[in-house]
């Protein structure tokens, strides 16, 4: 299955170019121009990885991250930042973001972080599946309760 990526950035020319580059590499990409839109989209749809700009006008990166993690805790978030907002990105990591990158970033770095984040989410989901299977095996009645 393709990795589902949501790019959140108010700089349209940046988001469009990155989106097309990821699509050429076989990712399933969606773009959100604002934190508010990203929060709505993540509440409705399942993304594997969100690439999130830290500094946006309507809702900043940290607030957007909190909303995303609030509705989809397993979705991994890579934060994009300028020099001035590195502290915000670090705060984001404390709140559960997978990692951060400085703009402009090297191709390999960003694609690598997206793959790493996607792999982490897949591993986490697998562990949850395994835990559920164990629960069912050890207590078959739990299927009826759950």
């Amino acid at each position: 299955m393709k990795t589902r990526v949501l790019i959140v950035d108010d700089e349209r020319d940046f988001a469009e170019a990155l989106s097309e580059r990821l699509a050429l590499r076989d990712y399933d990409v969606t773009v959100a121009p604002s934190g508010k839109d990203a929060a709505e989209k993540t509440a409705k749809f399942n993304y594997d990885v969100v690439v999130l700009d830290v500094l946006m006008p309507d809702m900043d990166g940290v607030e957007t991250l909190k909303r995303i993690k609030g509705t989809k805790p397993l979705t991994e978030v890579v934060m994009l930042t300028g020099h001035a907002t590195v502290e915000t990105a670090i705060e984001g990591m404390k709140l559960g973001a997978y990692d951060y990158l400085m703009k402009p970033c090297e191709d390999g770095e960003l694609f690598g972080k997206i793959d790493g984040a996607s792999a982490k989410k897949a591993e986490h989901e697998e562990r949850i599946r395994e835990a559920k299977v164990k629960e069912i095996v050890s207590s078959p009645r739990s299927v009826l309760n759950g």
């Binding site: 940046f14 907002t85 400085m102 402009p104």
Partner: protein, 218 residues
């Protein structure tokens, strides 16, 4: 002037720091757009070589975007350079229209972060004053910052420059001044008195008025 310089050493540097941080962020954004579009161009050329169908119009469009961003970054750097050179002279002849436009442009992204947009209105003819550029810019910034915090529901702030008999007036409109009861503070007072200016709210506290003399006596 002693108090004014003490205030300037804090307010002025904070202002300079905020503007520099915002402007360098804008430059990094422009560089990021250039980087991604150059990368996309490389991807499309590599793909075109493999498949034998390269679309020149698509490549030209991307080159156009890169050119636009390079010019945008150049404009940002030019404005920052003009701003930095305002520290050169303690007393200078300023075309206030240019100063107002420069400040509005430099703080445009900060305004956008507040969800606010500026609309400048300056006369066609230059409005000259002789003053200390750093004091004036710090004071103007203080007014803009207050206005951003107190922006009315429309979130559109007018920056209106008018020539007066004794000098010039800058009005920042579209605010709800009752939300900023502390403005102008004692610190701002030090600054405006240093250049013989005055800062006050208009009647109804819906605008900030900055009155400037034709010549500041420093």
């Amino acid at each position: 002037m002693g108090d004014a310089f003490e205030t300037l050493s804090e307010e002025g540097f904070q202002f300079f720091g905020r503007v520099t941080a915002s402007v360098t962020h804008e430059i990094k954004n422009a560089l990021a757009v250039i980087r991604e579009n150059a990368g996309l161009m490389e991807d499309l050329i590599a793909l075109g070589e493999r498949k034998g169908d390269l679309d020149p119009a698509r490549i030209l469009a991307l080159a156009g975007k890169i050119g636009t961003q390079a010019m945008k970054a150049d404009g940002i750097v030019r404005n920052m350079n003009r701003f930095a050179h305002s520290m050169d002279e303690p007393l200078a002849d300023l075309d206030l229209g240019e100063t107002v436009e420069l400040l509005a442009t430099l703080s445009g992204r900060i305004a956008a972060m507040h969800g606010v947009a500026f609309e400048t209105r300056v006369p066609d003819a230059p409005v000259w004053v002789k003053t200390n550029p750093v004091f004036l810019e710090t004071l103007l910034w203080a007014c803009l910052e207050c206005a951003m915090n107190a922006a009315g529901p429309q979130k559109r702030l007018g920056i209106v420059l008018e020539e007066t008999g004794s000098g010039a007036r800058v009005r920042i409109t579209g605010i709800q001044g009752e939300n900023e009861p502390e403005f102008p503070s004692e610190r701002h007072r030090d600054l405006y008195l240093a250049i013989g200016a005055e800062v006050r709210f208009g009647p109804g506290r819906d605008e900030i008025i900055l009155e400037l003399p034709k010549r500041a006596s420093l």
